[in-house]
């Protein structure tokens, strides 16, 4: 419908959309701004949006107090590691479901998804004990494994929906052309599904990055990611809004920036491949 849309309507839509967009974004913006205030300014009445003495003091304090690079690296390793391993396991599984479907395929898929509904707290102690017995408490390995398992159903599902979009003809053509199963997946399926795989990766990195139950409960210090880092700023004695804001900004900035840069892929990922 390429009919002329009245100027007035465009203006109203623009204003409305921007207002709502800014409102939704405001808590984050406010956090970032507060991180540059002094503690006293952070709770000043009336609050000021931009007109205060911008200071990096809070960042210095946070940096001095916590080993941010360590937590950051842990977050990166855990979220990337679990996503990559998850992909390695999920790609073959999704291939099977998408291209050699059987009567059980859908049931298996739904079952996998339903494992995500199991409440984690219910199994914390068993997992804790298992990790202890394997000597994996406070280790990245345990977290990578657990986050892989937690997100696996989502990865499988997303890949499945992306793979199903790929015409099976093309895989058959490859087979006729003499490709082995491995070449078929490596040279044909994976590159073709790359946008989908990228979206899946991004989304799972975010989910893993923000996972706060297992990462908090199974780490002490060495393997603690940013979720644990933020926990030490949650409510100390004294004024802490500005420091909390600085720590929050440091914890969410990497993923926020990554998300913004890969927006297009991510939006696709956010739809979980289920809506085209």
């Amino acid at each position: 419908m390429a009919r002329a849309i009245s100027k007035r309507r465009t203006v109203i839509v623009t204003i409305l959309a921007w207002t709502i967009g800014l409102l939704i974004f405001f808590p984050i913006l406010w956090t970032v701004i507060t991180s540059f205030k002094t503690e006293a300014e952070a709770i000043a009445d009336p609050p000021s949006l931009f007109w205060f003495n911008w200071t990096l003091e809070n960042y210095n304090v946070v940096n001095a107090r916590s080993n941010y690079p360590l937590h950051f690296m842990n977050s990166v390793i855990i979220s990337l590691g679990s996503t990559l391993i998850g992909l390695a396991i999920a790609v073959p599984a999704a291939w099977s479901m998408a291209f050699v479907p059987s009567k059980q395929t859908k049931n298996i898929l739904m079952w996998m998804l339903s494992t995500k509904m199991l409440p984690s707290v219910g199994v914390l102690i068993p997992i804790y004990l298992i990790s202890r017995n394997l000597g994996l408490l406070d280790s990245r390995i345990a977290l990578v494994v657990i986050l892989t398992l937690i997100n696996l159903p989502i990865i499988v599902w997303m890949l499945y929906t992306y793979f199903k979009e790929i015409p099976i003809d093309i895989l058959e053509a490859a087979r006729m052309d003499g490709a082995s199963l491995k070449s078929e997946i490596l040279y044909i399926l994976t590159p073709m599904a790359l946008p989908g795989i990228a979206s899946t990766m991004l989304l799972n990195i975010i989910l893993a990055w923000n996972e706060a139950f297992w990462t908090l409960n199974l780490t002490a210090a060495k393997a603690a990611p940013l979720t644990a880092f933020i926990a030490s700023y949650s409510s100390p004695e004294g004024l802490f809004y500005a420091k909390l804001s600085a720590a929050s900004t440091m914890a969410i900035a990497p993923i926020l920036i990554m998300g913004w840069f890969s927006q297009k892929q991510l939006v696709r990922g956010l739809t979980f491949g289920a809506v085209k």
Binding site: E39, I43, S234, E237
Partner: protein, 412 residues
């Protein structure tokens, strides 16, 4: 060697974290820090020690945990700390709480009681004068007098957030002065008694009259912020708060703060508690020597001096050593005396008017207490928020405490 230390994100502990590099340099050991908010810390270290997880080499725990854990054999005895550490110097009230059958299981980092902190300017404006040892009636009247909601000044600030270490610490200590107790000598819950009804009614009424909005979600930190920004007339809480509210860097009211003993009702016990954040070494550690060396360093007299040197005497960890209070430098600190008096006026072994089978001023030193008190704390917090009536809250508390105690086998 590398040790992992779990600690709470209090100002004193954060200072310890900053200064610990000196210990690292001196000994060649390194430290991984797990700095957590109090509740998270307690949950994590308890889980770890109870399952023998061995994630931490040094744990920051309180007077509640030490006797229980010590009995379970989860903590290493610290009797073998070097002589210059001077175990005899520890305040007896504090040391008593950390010793089980002659074995010291934790080294106190700082000790605290609770007291009344108030704004001298507001008190004056209200035309009142704070006695050194006020009664609850006086506090309530003064609070009402000082309250000025227009200008966001609330006469009384106190803990309301649910939790055994939050509102229940305050309320249990308060109840002692109202003649209430948790259990009779047969471990029967006492929330159906008149004393508890008086306590809770008094608390809820006073907070409703003169407390800040949202009191039911205020813990130590929230109240600290309120007081520092000049929104509280009085605040009854931990003695350590004194150093924060008198620090002009953080506090807008630093020069008009006064202190008094926690209130009483003339029944004997005052409404104050006794607590010590202490460093302990779990038996599951794989670096006991380094851990003990750190504990000794952080709780030593030298450490106190180190802090004094860096931050001034007002900021040294209080309440643990006799020698500190004999130090003339420390005598000039405004809250020093009141802190010591408060600590000395609490008796964990005889906390209540009527006799009880337990020790602990603001807690009952049994493992079940945390769970029960947190559940009870939620009831009381709900009563403060007005979502439950005081009667119902007490009835629920009675019921759930009774059933937990039966479950735990105390009445067999």
């Amino acid at each position: 060697e590398e040790i992992t230390i779990a600690t709470v994100n209090n100002g004193d502990m954060i200072r310890m974290q900053e200064l610990s590099s000196q210990w690292e340099e001196a000994t060649g050991n390194t430290i991984e820090w797990a700095v957590l908010e109090e509740n998270a810390l307690r949950q994590r270290v308890t889980t770890d020690i109870a399952t023998g997880g061995g994630q931490y080499d040094v744990m920051t725990i309180g007077t509640y945990e030490v006797p229980i854990w010590g009995k379970q054999g989860w903590l290493m005895s610290l009797n073998d700390l070097p002589a210059e550490w001077d175990q005899a110097d520890i305040l007896p009230a504090i040391a008593g709480g950390l010793t089980v059958e002659g074995e010291l299981y934790a080294a106190p980092f700082y000790g605290e009681s609770s007291m009344v902190m108030y704004r001298t300017d507001l008190m004056e404006a209200a035309g009142l004068e704070m006695p050194e040892a006020p009664t609850w009636t006086f506090i309530r009247e003064a609070a009402a007098e000082m309250t000025d909601r227009e200008n966001e000044i609330y006469g009384i600030c106190a803990r309301g957030k649910a939790g055994w270490g939050e509102n229940m610490a305050f309320l249990t200590a308060m109840s002692n002065s109202f003649g209430a107790r948790w259990f009779d000598e047969e471990w029967n819950a006492q929330f159906d008694g008149e004393a508890w009804a008086n306590t809770l009614n008094f608390y809820v009424d006073m907070m409703n009259e003169s407390g800040p909005p949202g009191a039911s979600s205020n813990g130590f930190n929230e109240n600290l912020t309120l007081f520092q920004t000049g929104k509280c007339g009085m605040w009854i809480d931990a003695t350590v708060a004194a150093s924060f509210i008198t620090n002009p860097n953080d506090s807008q009211v630093a020069d008009s703060v006064g202190f008094a003993l926690a209130p009483d009702n003339g029944l004997g016990p005052r409404g104050n508690w006794l607590w010590a954040w202490s460093l302990a070494v779990p038996t599951s550690t794989d670096a006991p020597d380094a851990a003990k060396s750190f504990v000794a360093w952080a709780t030593s007299k030298e450490y106190t001096e180190l802090v004094a040197e860096n931050e001034g005497w007002a900021n040294v960890p209080p309440g643990t050593r006799t020698s500190l209070y004999e130090n003339p430098n420390y005598a000039s600190v405004p809250f020093a005396k009141m802190t010591l008096d408060s600590i000395n006026s609490a008796d964990p072994n005889n906390p209540t008017v009527d006799p009880v089978p337990y020790t602990g001023v603001q807690f009952v030193a049994i493992p079940e207490f945390q769970g029960i008190a947190t559940a009870v704390g939620q009831q009381f917090s709900a009563a403060l928020a007005g979502t439950t009536s005081v009667e119902d809250a007490l009835a629920n508390a009675q019921e759930l405490t009774t059933s937990e105690m039966q479950d735990a086998g105390y009445q067999d």
